[in-house]
Amino acid sequence: MLEVVLFLLIVLAGTGGELCVSRAMKAVGEVKDFRPAAIARVISRALRVGWMWAGVGLMALAFFSLLGALSILNVSFVVPVTALSYVAGALGAVFFLREQVSRRRWAGVFLVSLGVTLVFLGNR
């Protein structure tokens, strides 16, 4: 049960964090200048967006959940299962960001889901 909670936190908080950061960075605008001073300006602009703080908080939660999972489970089990974030990412892109997801991406998402199912079955 603890494993399931930790995986849910890794995947949902991680993906939620990335979506929040993505939303914040869309508000900041496309980064075209990669000089240190320009990057520092982008970071200071991003830190004034609320979504960025929500994103960083969720990503930190996902990281500590990953540490928790690695303390009780094998790396060769935990890391492949975290690929479920691609499934959550595709669903989040559709429902949260209102993006269109191509058929090819759905095919990839299906393969990831199938692989994670086999990894779970192989752990028994």
């Binding site: 990953l66 690695l70 094998n74 492949p80 960001l97 991406r105 990831v112 990894v119």
Partner: protein, 175 residues
């Protein structure tokens, strides 16, 4: 008059040709180091990311039981975790991965770099098997291979949600 015009045009064309040639020579000269740089950074990504995960796994196993309640216990647990050398090596390794990823994405296409992420799942499992002596069943290996393939397929789709139309207006991805 016509002669002057033709000479002028041919001279302009010649200059343009020279500029084009110089650009071609410069691009062919600078292309090789860029490819080598990209290859090396992708190699760093493929190794540093999974190695970071394996080191975190090793460190967390060393840290022992993780009590998070009451809050004083959580503090003790956190202190014990962050006093473990492997955890810091793992965090450092993941930072190297992150830095290499950001750097390479500043000039290379996402779909060109992304296979490194898909390979990372397999490399993590291999490092877990060889460095941490983890038991991996054939079914789990099969699952990991399918995950790598799935992540590769996801990565080969257009990562941009918006693209510019000829009129300059943005439209949604329809691929």
């Amino acid at each position: 008059m016509l002669d002057i015009h033709i000479r002028l045009v041919s001279r302009m064309a010649g200059t343009r040709f020279l500029i084009l040639r110089r650009q071609l020579v410069q691009s062919s000269v600078s292309r090789k180091p860029v490819h080598l740089k990209t290859f090396l950074l992708i190699l760093v990504m493929v190794i540093a990311g999974p190695l970071g995960n394996v080191l975190l796994g090793k460190g967390m196993k060393q840290a022992g039981s993780l009590a998070i309640w009451p809050p004083t216990e959580a503090l003790h647990t956190a202190l014990r975790v962050f006093a473990t050398g492997s955890i810091w090596l793992g965090v450092g390794s993941l930072l190297v991965f992150f830095l290499a990823n950001v750097l390479v994405l500043s000039w290379a296409d996402y779909s060109y770099v992304q296979p490194a992420s898909s390979v990372g799942y397999g490399v993590s499992a291999l490092l877990g098997y060889f460095l941490l002596s983890e038991q991996v069943s054939p079914l789990r290996w099969l699952g990991i291979a399918i995950i790598c393939l799935g992540v590769l397929v996801v990565g080969q789709t257009n990562p941009r949600s918006l693209e510019r139309s000829p009129t300059g207006m943005e439209r949604s991805e329809r691929a």
